[in-house]
């Protein structure tokens, strides 16, 4: 079907290069109209589950069956009921963990990118290559070892053991360098080196150059890395599930999973309301970041 429409479109193009307004409805459809049809069909496909969860969160019943009639009832009971659960402490945990991880990631990643971009030292190539290789192996692959490591660490420092949010942040920070340094390294390389050199001549130390000149110039990439890190940490499930054991310490991912996996039927309204609330911050960040994300996704690859 696609092939024929495409070739018809080609024919229309060749025969009538006239302005769109004068074309007949048939030709308009062959050229542009079908794209709208495809667009509407796939928008329904993409958006329908989101509409459904909104409706389920507003339904008064709160059961899975009761949510099937879209926007049958509009009530805030599910949202109000969240206050009786541990939901808001999960939300706070997720936000805390995500924000602290993002700050740590940006500080450590930017510092490392600065060193790799501005200094020439022994082991620099080896370091960059190692980072490139390490980032191929997602941290979650070693979750058994992380679990065992935290058992041992917890015997020494309880705050770094199992069931600790601090330990979870530390584990996430272990993956910070591998994932983000390259993104930042590329951006740091685009800042003209003459700027640091001028600062150096004016008597600035390397630390002054870094904190007062370079960091200000790379603010866009810092923001992007921080937001990407927040999005990734907020949605992380495996490591949080393995490490956090008591309900009050769970993150949203672990908590909402527990609602759905146990007593699915009765908790559905709660889950829907929780899902909507946890989606809002990420959706907002995402819309804000959209153009950067597209740029970032393709920047590393489109060079060919």
């Amino acid at each position: 079907m696609t092939a024929t429409t495409l070739s018809e479109g080609r024919a229309a193009d060749r025969r009538a290069p006239a302005p769109a307004r004068r074309r007949s409805a048939g030709r308009w459809f062959a050229d542009t109209g079908w794209r709208h049809v495809v667009g509407v069909v796939f928008i329904v496909y993409a958006v329908f589950p989101i509409v459904y969860v909104l409706s389920a969160s507003l339904s008064a019943g709160g059961t899975l069956t009761g949510s099937n009639q879209l926007f049958d009832t509009i009530s805030g009971t599910n949202y109000a009921a969240l206050a009786d659960t541990a939901f808001w402490s999960w939300f706070a945990n997720s936000v805390q963990v995500a924000v602290v991880t993002a700050i740590g990631t940006v500080l450590m990643g930017a510092a490392a990118a600065y060193a790799f971009s501005r200094f020439r030292f022994q082991g620099r190539r080896a370091g960059l290559t190692t980072l490139l290789i390490v980032q191929m192996f997602p941290q979650m692959l070693a979750f058994v070892a992380i679990f065992l490591l935290l058992i041992s660490l917890g015997e020494v420092v309880p705050a770094l053991g199992l069931n600790s949010k601090v330990a979870l942040v530390c584990v996430y920070l272990g993956g910070a360098l591998g994932v983000n340094t390259f993104l930042m390294y590329g951006f740091f390389n685009t800042i003209p080196r003459e700027l640091d050199e001028a600062a150096k001549i004016d008597g600035a130390t390397h630390a002054q150059t870094y904190w007062t000149i370079i960091l200000r110039l790379v603010t866009p990439i810092l923001a992007v890395v921080a937001l990407l890190s927040i999005i990734a940490t907020f949605g992380e499930f495996v490591i949080a599930r393995v490490l956090l054991q008591s309900e009050s310490n769970w993150t949203l991912a672990v908590g909402l999973y527990s609602w759905v996996s146990s007593l699915l039927e009765a908790n559905w309204g709660l889950f829907a309301a929780g899902a909507v609330i946890s989606t809002i911050p990420i959706l907002a960040l995402f819309m804000f970041l959209q153009k950067y994300i597209v740029g970032g996704l393709t920047a590393g690859s489109v060079k060919g």
Binding site: A3, L6, S7, G9, R10, A20, R35, V38, I43, Y45, A46, V47, P49, I50, Y52, L64, T65, A111, A112, A115, L128, L132, V134, F137, M140, L141, A142, V144, A145, F147, L148, L153, E155, V156, V157, V171, L177, G178, T181, E197, A198, K200, I201, D202, A207, G235, F237, V238, L252, L256, Y257, L264, W268, T279, Q290, V294, T298, S301, V302, K303
Partner: protein, 552 residues
């Protein structure tokens, strides 16, 4: 900004440091010039130096605390690692020769501890039998065996006993048959102590607080579980109580002979000797429950590949992992590319709205979507069966084949926006001259697309397709949340199902959620298998993209 227009800024001599500031640093070979700080903050006690000093003081204080705790807990590996880290940190931040390291070190420490070390540790555990029944060292196993198999010594005297606390842990204060008093807790054996005795029972003792009736009732469980060793030799037994007033001596039914390294059961007289699998084994082949960690060589890998219980499911899981990862990439890429092509028409109205709405699924947190779909696809109450199919009872998530289909379908919903984004990006950056040349040569739209657009698109997106493959290869959250790996294989001896992929198999085998006995050794061996597969995929990716060449 005028400062930046310094005449030296563009000249080749900028590397030459300011002579006054550099007096402290001796001249070096020209190659190292950039590395050397022209003026180290350590040399000028300015605010920056003070901040550094304060931060290092905090780090050192924390490190000293960890070293001390590790000493107390007798955790020598942690102690050694912490001392090494502290030494490196202090050297790096107070030396002038380590400028690049000053920037890299914090990230490096986290990277080493929580990523590189854990990968190495996975490799180590893969060759041991770490897991339920083999949780610790041989010494721990021996003392656990001795304490778990106890019985009251017949005819032993009853000891008048008082429950005491040192503020945190509970202890027992007893009056021995010879009239002497002693106190001890779970960790420290009974030791003689001066105490006030009233009515044959200890009423007060230095350094300990006597619990009153109410407090004993509140901590009843703790009191009845408490065992205070009689002496440092576990063979001597320990004091326990049921009523918090009278204690009895319990001795182990097992006796450990240190010289012969054997366990003897005093009731039956059976002698147990340690075997290669980290357990005490009797002549008739029976073993004691608690064992210890030993190296088992390639046993875990052999189990995965050839054990009758695991080999069958393991191969099914591996095949499904590859099929799932491949189909995930293929379906999402095809749909994403199709949509990107459709909306790449420059004169299409509302393109921006279409794009924004289409990428919505990508903007939803990764854990919400699979959970949401698990409800939509629910067999009895889900929206898909109830509303779209008018009350059908299609077992979307509980039939082996339909569950696989559902996973691919849900992943398509989740994943096509990403492919749509990258294909849109790639299409927009296609060189227009090539397209024009094709047009001039008389190629139609379809021909242009097949011979020019498509190859160029594949060249630029292949690296992302490979990393997407690697990601889906380990797409734990999707599988675990949607089907939990189910439906289960008919053979119930292993906790695996038809939609399990390797990473969820690792999780189930490790037994971290308590649904199966813990087997960290086998789980780590499976992780190593994943590492090898990912490494192979990455090597191919490297070869194709030559990313390494970009490092200069």
């Amino acid at each position: 900004m005028t400062d930046l227009q310094h005449p030296g800024a563009t000249s080749a001599t900028v590397d030459r440091p300011d002579p006054g500031a550099d007096a402290a640093t001796p001249p070096k070979a020209p190659r190292e010039r950039r590395v050397r700080p022209d003026e180290s903050p350590a040399g000028r006690y300015g605010p920056g130096f003070l901040v550094k000093l304060a931060l290092m003081a905090v780090v050192d204080a924390f490190g000293a605390y960890v070293v001390w705790s590790a000493w107390v807990a007798e955790s020598w590996v942690v102690l050694g690692a912490m001392v090494a880290m502290l030494a490196v940190a202090n050297w790096v931040y107070f030396s002038r020769r380590t400028v690049p390291l000053k920037y890299v070190l914090p990230g490096l420490i986290f990277l080493f501890t929580f990523q590189i070390f854990t990968i190495a540790y996975t490799g180590w555990v893969a060759f041991t039998n770490y897991g339920d029944g083999h949780n610790s060292t041989k010494d721990d196993a021996i003392s656990a065996l001795l304490t778990q198999n106890e019985r009251r010594v017949e005819g032993s005297p009853s000891l008048p006993l008082t429950v005491v606390t040192d503020g945190d842990a509970l202890g027992f204060a007893v009056v021995r048959p010879d009239g002497t008093t002693a106190v001890g807790d779970a960790d420290d054996a009974l030791a003689p102590v001066e105490a006030t005795v009233t009515e044959g029972r200890i009423a007060a003792v230095d350094g300990w607080e006597v619990l009153d009736r109410q407090e004993i009732l509140e901590r009843q469980g703790e009191v009845t579980n408490l065992r205070v060793p009689l002496s440092d030799d576990p063979n001597d037994g320990s004091v326990r109580t049921q009523d918090a007033r009278t204690g009895y001596v319990f001795t182990p039914t097992l006796v450990y002979d240190e010289a012969a390294d054997t366990m003897t059961d005093t009731t039956t007289g059976t002698v147990y000797t340690p075997n290669d699998e980290g357990q005490f084994e009797a002549a008739d082949g029976s073993t004691l429950q608690v064992g210890w960690r030993v190296f088992v060589g390639f046993d875990n890998f052999t189990t995965a590949f050839s054990d009758s219980r695991y080999a069958g499911p393991f191969f099914q899981v591996v095949v499904w992992t590859f099929v799932f990862a491949f189909l995930s990439v293929a379906t999402t890429f095809l749909l994403g590319m199709f949509l990107a092509t459709v909306f790449n028409a420059p004169h299409l109205r509302g393109r921006k709205i279409y794009r924004t709405l289409l990428i919505l699924p990508y903007a939803i947190p990764g854990f919400v979507a699979p959970l949401l779909w698990s409800g939509l696809l629910n067999r009895s109450f889900g929206f898909v069966n109830q509303v779209l199919l008018g009350g059908a009872a299609v077992p979307w998530l509980t039939d082996p084949w339909l569950a696989k289909f559902s996973i691919i379908a849900v992943n398509l919903w989740l994943g096509f926006p990403y492919m749509f984004l990258i294909c849109t990006g790639a299409l927009q950056s296609l060189p227009t001259d090539v397209l024009e040349a094709a047009k001039i040569d008389g190629a139609g739209r379809l021909r242009t697309w097949r011979s020019v657009t498509m190859p160029l698109l594949l060249v630029s997106t292949t690296p992302l397709l490979i990393s997407s493959f690697a990601f889906n290869f380990n797409n734990f959250a999707l599988i675990y949340m949607l089907t939990g790996g189910g439906p289960r294989f008919a053979d119930a001896s292993v906790p695996l199902g038809h939609t399990d992929i390797l990473i969820t198999m690792v999780y189930s085998v490790a037994g971290l959620d308590g649904s199966a006995p813990k087997n960290f050794g086998l789980a780590s061996a499976l992780s190593i298998v994943i590492f090898v597969i990912i490494a192979t995929i990455s090597a191919i990716a490297f070869k194709r993209t030559r990313s390494l060449e970009e490092i200069n």
